[in-house]
Point group: C3
Chain length 383, copies 3
């Protein structure tokens, strides 16, 4: 973390400590060059007590500077500075924001001489276009947007204002982004949908897959983020839509014609087959998979590796493949571990039933129905 | 969908309606600018009745133009045009094909001045080489092939005729494609196989993984498509082969030395470990995973998230992880939900068996074998 | 495999045969142009008997040259050459190493004129920088490192010595690699972590996800490899670390703040959520998924498609989702297939219990407790 550096004064200005304690029996840090959890911090690091359950770690931390809640009893060890603040977590957030602005300043407006921009493309004000970016015919880039090295904007695509495309992000033909959209390295928006129909060669009789034209586009609404190497397919016709504020993680797949609502979360390696709908505030955990043509109700939470093959009501929490409500899934998972024992108990009962029947037969009792006797006989054999 | 536009005359020419009905009580559309399902269409859209089950939606659709089967009874509302055709679906397909040809014309032959093409590379006739494409020593590009921006062709690789590499597609060293192959954005054909052997450092005794040279290649036969950011590894030696007409979706992984037959389907995020064989017409659904060194028989269908750990006979339909025949898998999945109830029933039977044994003991009956009595005694306790 | 060619003399020099047998009744090969398994080899191929279980294939192989263990009884057929060596597998490895060095020679040092290297970047000795590579401000590239076409090195990133970045590999801002690190095509090291916090718009009351700054970096230690299109996220703060010698396959996801030990294996499409720790020598099989904030003990082996939701002790072998010890998982998987049969046996036992109770009641025996009688009555009904 050599790349972070804040003086103690800068830290104090950002965190506005109400009180401050330091122990000068050893030289005090002049600056911090990293941020770390209490148990991992070194003397050059800033640490913080964000969750009271970590309070026991405060006494032992090696951090040079620690953000603590007001009134916390701990005393700094030699060379340590404690800053007591109303809310250590939000104080830390302000520190991180300030570092982020230092380390990731918005690139200055300008167009790199190696960028290739079609004569029919339109660029807004204050755009930053990096080296080897390619912008095709009829494309538009909104005001203040940043396209880093090797980014690609296809024909007639529309990049909204204040977008940030990281290196090598691609927005394909006719696709559209709203305001403040972020595409991370290698993200692909607007690949062809995976749609084919079988056709038979009249001559040879060989059946092959004929591509169904995928002539729609993708629309990413305001504040959408798409992670590294994630892929979102264009619609067969009409639009694959990702609603305002939805965040998509690395290596996620969104099939053609999907419609994703607002403020959804798609965690890494999750996937949606074609034409599936997510209402608002749906969360897909890692590696979850959704079949096609489904509707997932608002606020539903789909667990990691969940396999969803039918519609899900709003507010549901699902787990397992096939997906079940979380409580049910956890019960089933627990019982599965008891199955070997269950089988043993079953065998014992069968032996015992056989012995009892014997005893009864000896006493002259007969089954009341042939059926039960028959099946009883059947199951009296070891299974 | 602002990018689609067809006049009514163009539509009629493409769909050859046998009859036509319109209601001019409101102004009729002069053109359509989109295609949509009956229940989503706007007045500027073309819609269609492809599946009779949607017939009830015809009366309510807002579509400006609707393709209907001959003799369909519906009457257009004001401002609507109905085109009655033999087969609405194939009529729509002709419309989509025509739009696709307009929107994705084959780029004109030519070599962008920024393309870097090794002096020892060979280019066929009428190729299109886009900006910042790199073609390395000894590579070949076949007639009429298109390589879009940032595409990469490695040393001695062979691109067949009529290929279309979307931006940033990569064909690595020594790999070969047949005719009409399509690579989508970010597809990687010919990465190293993942093969290592343990080696012990004689000095330190530390065991590490030594890379096994991966000196083979990948061959994609005619009409293969590889989706966005999908990866296909080169063979250890010999060839990783993908058969004619096979379609591979986004983010799919094909391991080294796999041999995939003709006309297979690998849906998004599915993966094949090394040396596994797919015979012809195999389908892998989304997120399905295959272990290495397996043979999947012709026409087998492997369900979503399926985990295959052994060979699969031709024609099988598999589901679950580990994979089972679909019927069996569905039965097991159904019964898993009954497990809590099953446990309750088991407990009740055990209580009852205990009471019966008691009664018999009182009557002076003894088990015929120590074994069954012993086990009976064992299970008479609450489990 | 047209690209491999070794004369018989070169082969002999590499494999140092102790004995040699050939059958000149047909013309002997002057060279081999491929390597293949015994059952797939053609006359132009080199093959080998690496595992004695394939010995029966030796007599039938069409390979022109075969590496055999000393004293193997087989006799070459016309046109075949047999080379008898101490260890055919290691002899083959030497052949493959030599071919690899021929086919993948280290590119000559030099900087392509189209590479864009910031004035503030530092290049070591003998680096190879390919066409359209972009190296940003303050970045460093170590001695003898190779960056192929379209590779990207972000601001202040540090590429160690003897690295090899394949085309289009990306090392983002502030990230660091050790010695001999390999990034394959499309690999992304240093994308943003996926961290957000909910915020409510005071005006509209709408809740949205606010990005938590991701200001840490990624450190890849010596000898790490990252596969094609794999993604490794930068830490929230501090470092996402991959230990020395760890190998990461294609399309793998490593979340922010993960710490991976030395010599681990992450097979294709496996994924780790944030802050999870792998100790040394952990193996994740294909499509395995790990929840966040877990610790996986040294040497643990996590099976294909495994879903890990809790810490795993060192040396464990896990399988299933949720993960269980392999033996337990296999037993459960086997029993799941018996569940339908188990249900049938349960019904029969219940019928039989009902008939026995009847008989006893007739004999005047009553249950000792109302409870067991009641539940017995309850379960005597068909479930």
């Amino acid at each position: 973390m050599h790349h972070i550096s804040l003086t103690i004064d800068e830290l104090a200005a950002l965190t506005a400590p109400v009180e401050r304690a330091e122990n000068a029996d050893a030289p005090l840090p002049a600056a911090i060059t990293g941020i770390a959890a209490l148990d991992e911090a070194r003397p050059s690091d800033l640490s913080f007590l964000g969750n009271i359950k970590y309070a026991p770690q405060v006494a032992a931390t090696a951090a040079g500077v620690v953000l603590l809640p007001l009134g916390h009893p701990a005393k700094p060890r030699p060379g340590q500075i404690f800053l007591f603040v109303k809310d250590p977590s939000s104080a830390l957030a302000r520190v991180c924001d300030s570092i982020e602005q230092k380390l990731w300043p918005r690139p200055a407006p300008g167009i790199h001489p190696t960028a290739i921009i079609a004569g029919t493309a339109t660029l807004g004000a204050n755009v930053h276009i990096g080296p080897y970016v390619v912008i095709e015919d009829g494309a538009t880039v909104g005001d203040n947007s940043v396209l880093e090295a090797h980014a690609y904007v296809g024909r007639s695509a529309v990049v909204g204002p204040d977008n940030w495309f990281k290196p090598r992000a691609a927005l394909a033909e006719f696709c559209v982004t709203g305001a403040r959209v972020k595409l991370f390295i290698g993200a692909v928006v607007g690949g062809d949908g995976f749609g084919f129909e079988p056709v038979k060669d009249p001559a040879t009789g060989e059946v092959s897959h004929r591509k169904i034209p995928q002539i729609g586009n993708v629309v990413l609404e305001d504040d959408v983020e798409v992670g590294a190497n994630a892929t979102i397919d264009r619609a067969r016709f009409a639009t694959t839509r990702v609603g305002r504020g939805t965040k998509i993680d690395n290596l996620v797949q969104v099939g053609h014609n999907c419609r994703i609502g607002r403020h959804c979360f798609l965690v890494s390696q999750s996937g949606m087959a074609g034409s599936t709908i997510l209402e608002d505030y749906v969360a897909l955990a890692g590696q979850a998979g959704l079949a096609g043509h489904l509707r997932i109700g608002a606020g539903a939470q789909i667990g990691a590796q969940c396999g969803v093959m039918s519609d899900i009501p709003a507010g549901s929490r699902m787990l397992g493949s096939p997906a079940m409500p979380v409580k049910e899934a956890l019960r089933v998972m627990a019982i599965q571990k008891q199955l070997p024992e269950l089988i043993r108990r079953m065998k014992t009962l069968e032996e015992r039933a056989a012995f009892i029947a014997e005893a009864l037969a000896a006493a002259g009792y007969a089954p009341t129905t042939a059926g039960s006797a028959g099946s009883a006989g059947a199951t009296a054999q070891p299974a």
